[in-house]
Symmetry: C2
Subunit: 141 residues, 2 copies
């Protein structure tokens, strides 16, 4: 019931990229140093983000990473799911075999957890990185 460290790093890396000029490319090393994230671990995370289209990677000399979309089109949910896979709060919600009574259909716990999971999912989808940028600007004043 907690986000993992990789997701936390991913949020901060995407926020960092969101604060650059649109299209601006920056090396992973710069992000790592600025955000205090272990470089090799960050590279791994960035690959997940690239696969999801959240960042775009550029190989070779002068390469690095830039956002793959505008900040307004990237939600916390997008980043979370790129790193951890889709949100699920209980195993029985994915695999009926985990339902210890094999009674998914009639199980009120299952039913209610599915509803909570949906709310949580929507909640993470409510916030995009344009909003986080705005919040950041206001707090610097």
């Amino acid at each position: 019931m907690i986000l993992n460290q990789a997701t936390d790093y991913a949020f901060r890396a995407v926020l960092y990229l969101s604060l650059l000029q649109p299209g601006e490319i920056v090396e992973a090393k710069v992000i790592a140093e600025n955000q205090h994230i272990p470089l090799r671990f960050l590279l791994k995370i960035l690959r997940s983000l690239a696969k999801a289209g959240i960042v775009k990677s550029y190989q070779g000399v002068g390469g690095g990473y830039a956002l793959g979309k505008i900040p307004a089109d990237i939600t916390l949910k997008d980043v979370l799911e790129a790193v951890e896979g889709s949100i699920r709060i209980n195993k029985c919600l994915i695999d009926p075999d985990y339902c210890n009574k094999q009674a998914t259909e009639h199980c009120p716990v299952h039913h209610v957890l599915a509803s909570i999971q949906q709310t949580i999912s929507q909640e993470f989808d409510k916030y995009n990185f344009e909003q986080l940028k705005e919040y950041m600007k206001q707090n610097l004043k």
Copy 2:
């Protein structure tokens, strides 16, 4: 970002007790068999629930467990927190040392996660075991 197995078992154990006559005592073994939960593991979980006042334990011959409150006064959040401790979705929300920039106050990620955490907390608090009982009855018809 997932409930652990103990919490899942706890939900189902409390639901089981909720369906009994008010005040009815039943041995852990009966719950374990009915709900397919490893007995010793269940006993450990029941101790957590007892500490939180959710169930009441009776030692000695003829002992066992009963609910410590009426089902309407037990929410999913109560059970969840009794088993896993309070809901927290990111380490930086508890311990500022985990904030990799030591900047809790100015961090938009922190700010937004705190808000999401509160929503999640409220969501689990929205459902009590009287409601789950009702849902169950309706589904048996």
